[in-house]
Symmetry: C2
Subunit: 163 residues, 2 copies
């Protein structure tokens, strides 16, 4: 460990973070919007973001986004309840295979809420190891998604196949 | 053209189609579910699917999914209205650059409804050429998506930034 911190921490919106985000493959409209909002003074420097990450020394090596979805929009879990949407989980290539992905997922699980994610197809093995299961695909709800769910004790998948 | 048909056609769920789907990169839980439903006699052979495609001779070379979302779930367009969600637009590598992607998008536009898609980040140039524009990113609505919109005449983006 050599004294480096590998805690999961919330990421603040600032130019350094946004520059580091460019190293991640899943850089998209979300990040571009954060940059524009910062440049246009629509948000303050060091505003909160939905991102959490792991630093090694000064460098961001892994990140994810987390958002708490309200029970009234819950179409996945039984009983319906607040749940976490997790996206853009990514570990930079040179740091893969060292447990940082698991560390981020464990952090998300620590809120003790159900979790939904919509991973890239080729990461299903990882999500299975993390205890996630495929949701029953419903075209009108899931459209182009590949939803995977993590169910804490006492929570089941909603099973009304028809809607 | 040599007599081959390059019309866009609705794709029916059968073993031949589902086998052809495996050649597309964006093969996921949606297709696996269609296969399981067919194997388990939950759907009949040649049931309708949300997919449309282009054949050259006997081979499926391009496809997309389209779903009509009801106005009551419209959080993108002003006035709120039925719109089309478009996903998994993909042309097989050997057939790219020949206008099949545009042909599929033009087919979607022919319904004269607004269209929303959530493309892979590296296809934004294509979508811009097709007349799509970035939606204003809203974390609580868009989460991990990169929404792009096509607005027919008289339709605007919903502009209530706060919700």
């Amino acid at each position: 460990m050599m004294g480096t911190s590998t805690q999961v921490q919330p990421l603040l919106i600032n130019y350094k973070t946004l520059e580091e985000f460019k190293r991640f493959k899943e850089y998209g409209i979300q990040e571009l919007t954060m940059l524009e909002d910062l440049q246009g003074n629509i948000v303050e420097n060091n505003s909160e973001s939905p991102f959490f990450g792991i630093y090694i020394g000064n460098a961001l090596v892994a990140r994810m986004s987390l958002y708490r979805v309200s029970a009234k929009y819950d179409h996945y879990f039984e009983p319906p309840q607040d749940y976490l949407e997790l996206w853009k989980l990514e570990v930079l290539k040179d740091y893969q295979g060292q447990g940082y992905g698991k560390q981020l997922v464990d952090f998300a699980k620590s809120f003790e809420l159900p979790i939904k994610t919509n991973p890239r197809v080729n990461s299903h093995n990882f999500w299975e190891r993390m205890g996630f299961q495929k949701a029953t695909y419903k075209v009108e709800r899931d459209l182009g998604e590949n939803p995977l769910l993590w169910l804490p004790q006492g929570v089941e998948e909603q099973n009304d196949k028809e809607e």
